[in-house]
Symmetry: C2
Subunit: 421 residues, 2 copies
């Protein structure tokens, strides 16, 4: 399949982009090759697909189910009891809803951490996105549960490799240092090294976590991981709010990547002082994410870019910090590098994961600076067309099957919260 996109706004001029199979083959002007599909993109900008660096996709089912509540009350009364009753069908429809929402806001790939990988993988496979799956490991410091976790990890790894692959990739996913023993963390790290898998973990998300880490392990979270020997270029840290200068150095030295989730951090009041600038200066790859829809409420990476910039400017008291251009890079090419993808740029040889943005709207008028308008003025609804892996997933804001997804996902969500009664 070849696609020729004509006259899309790119770097200040109208450009043509030729897609051949899964890749961008040529970017230029007045391209005239024959193509299976030609898209007239006048009045539209072309951008790389966003990469959501941290999500719990099926949690769309819990959207709006317990906002403005204290964290523990929310988890204990709303989330955990109902998560325990989730079936594979729930997970499947929740993920379909997440994928629909991501496509409609220009996201083409995401890093996910949840459970029931088949439900997620099947949904993503059908929806046409890319995912880095993470089947959450939790042993609560119980060796028996640790053994079960290891067996499950091996099983899921085989399953993903044998039955999925391609757009569906696997990572190991220890939940956090307060739910996973050091022994299991090390085993998962060994497994990830052996099979060249990324490893994701929630880390340094709250002040309480840091205090407990010091109390229980004798070290702050990053130092604890260092002592365990699990810092590596395979490691992706979600949150990383509470890190000192030396820890930033340690993360940089080991090639660890970090995902900032401003909406979740602010809404759950985890904290607001993310060290974006310091991490970037140390050479760390910093991406952006939404976190699950139960805490950030949506999966809109355009909103995340604005939030990350505004939050960074505010606490630093520096209107020049965290520029629109830096946010755009974090949401695209940095995210792609988390997932080991040659994506996140509109350039020859890159994966054909991209979107067209409709410029015919108030927020892109005037259009002095496209990236600034995208980051600071727009929201995900500006996305008009989405292509992933060379395949059109949305055109003129229409995603095939949308009605059924909305209906089925809502049905599962309403049933789920009744099931517990």
């Amino acid at each position: 399949m070849t696609i020729l996109i004509k006259n899309a706004w790119l770097d200040g001029e109208a450009k043509d982009v030729f897609i051949d199979g899964k890749h961008i083959r040529q970017v230029g002007q007045e391209l005239t090759m024959a193509a299976d599909r030609t898209i007239d993109a006048r009045g539209k900008a072309i951008i790389p697909g966003f990469v959501n660096g941290h999500s719990h996709a099926p949690m769309t089912l819990f959207r709006g189910f317990g906002d403005d509540m204290p964290l523990m009350k929310w988890l204990q009364e709303r989330i955990w009891p109902h998560e325990a009753k989730l079936t594979r069908t729930d997970i499947y429809w929740g993920t379909k809803l997440a994928c629909l929402e991501m496509i409609k806001s220009g996201t083409t790939a995401f890093v996910d951490m949840y459970f029931n990988m088949r439900g997620i993988a099947d949904a993503v496979e059908e929806m046409g996105l890319r995912v880095l799956l993470g089947d959450t490991d939790i042993d609560h410091f119980n060796p028996e549960l640790a053994e079960k976790s290891k067996e499950r990890t091996k099983r899921v790894f085989r399953m993903v490799n044998e039955e999925y692959g391609g757009r569906i990739q696997m990572s190991v996913a220890p939940h956090a240092i307060y739910t996973v023993s050091g022994e299991l963390l090390q085993w998962l790290n060994d497994f990830s090294r052996e099979h060249a898998l990324p490893m994701q973990i929630h880390l340094a998300e709250t002040e309480g976590e840091v205090a407990d880490s010091v109390k229980n392990f004798g070290y702050t979270p990053v130092r604890y991981l260092y002592k365990l020997g699990v810092l590596s270029p395979r490691l992706i840290i979600a949150h990383g709010l509470y890190v000192d200068d030396d820890e930033i150095r340690m993360l940089a030295d080991h090639g660890v990547k970090v995902v900032h989730n401003p909406a979740s951090n602010m809404k759950l009041a985890s904290g607001g002082r993310f060290m974006f600038k310091e991490m970037k200066e140390a050479g760390i790859t910093v991406a952006l994410g939404t976190d699950g829809s139960a805490s950030s409420n949506n999966l809109d990476m355009v909103e995340v870019m604005k939030l990350a910039s505004l939050l960074g400017k505010a606490w630093r008291k520096d209107p020049v910090a965290l520029t629109a251009g830096e946010m755009f890079e974090a949401a695209t090419v940095a995210g792609a590098s988390l997932m080991g993808l040659k994506a996140g740029r509109i350039a020859e040889g890159y994966l054909a994961d991209l979107s067209l943005v409709d410029l015919h709207s108030p927020v892109f008028t005037p259009n002095f600076n496209f990236v600034s308008n995208l980051v600071y003025a727009a929201n995900g609804s500006c996305i008009d067309t989405v292509i992933c892996n060379g395949k059109i997933l949305m055109e003129n804001r229409v995603v095939p099957g949308e009605d059924e997804i909305l209906e089925k996902a809502a049905e599962r969500a309403y049933d789920l919260v009744k099931r517990n009664a």
Copy 2:
């Protein structure tokens, strides 16, 4: 003109709303009266129109023209030289663009502060919104300029009363305590008392302003206004970031209203610790605003609600603070009370300023809590239909004349920045 809206989602059930002329006449179920227009609102929620409590509407022309710059450099190099060249036609098209953007995101009324009132009033009159105009007063402590300001204020007041009125209302608008002499502030306050006009001012926006106020006047900003005798129920303060407990008490005692502009405060790094909770507890009416598009980049009140809540939760380290419901009230009924309007509720006898929200989308799926979805998951693009003063301004996201507005406003903006060369 009568409009019957059938089966709109309101407070958890399907309701009918009957509009007769400018007002909501009846809210109930299975209403059957004859109406000039009947709107089928199944799958849509009905909400009051948002009130944008602080804006500089024509500054849409400067959208994206100098982001991520230090404040003074931005003002001196980008804003002021070009503002000086704005013509009435520029102002008119910039305001049309602002109105278009506001309608498309569900705002039906706004408090504005700029200059060239005819350009603004004509645009708002045509677009069908309500505005509280403010013709910015600045005398730079120069008595001659103060006299000119007074004459202009009298002239504009006459003009608005004689030629506009209705949806177009007038306020007095001293820019700030660092640009307006105490003498002019008192004169404007007297004028506003005499003619029962609201008075708006930027106040306590930055730490620098507070330090200068103490240095130059011997008092912090709110205390300075108190000493001048200009605190009153007519006064609307934009920003009010830097106020202590006693100042909150003073504002409450005098019935002063405050508008919080989180996007602008964060982006310009003015500060993040807005005392929403303390002000509300003291009994102050607190509304929300965007500020001008040159600093907040858009006029989306749905985004403002989320930002205000998230920012408040983050700095307070309290996930329960600033709830979705409080934000919704601040963006609707509190804003209406700034403007002296009986609006901001879907109830009998209230002005027919309202919107329909399309619930058929991922961010409203599932719909456990409509207000939570609206505030935390949605953005302005969820607005489907807008009615102001009993007149339909947008239906199915179509605003008559949109293309011309986008074209003309962009034309004026591009011409404007060339004019200075």
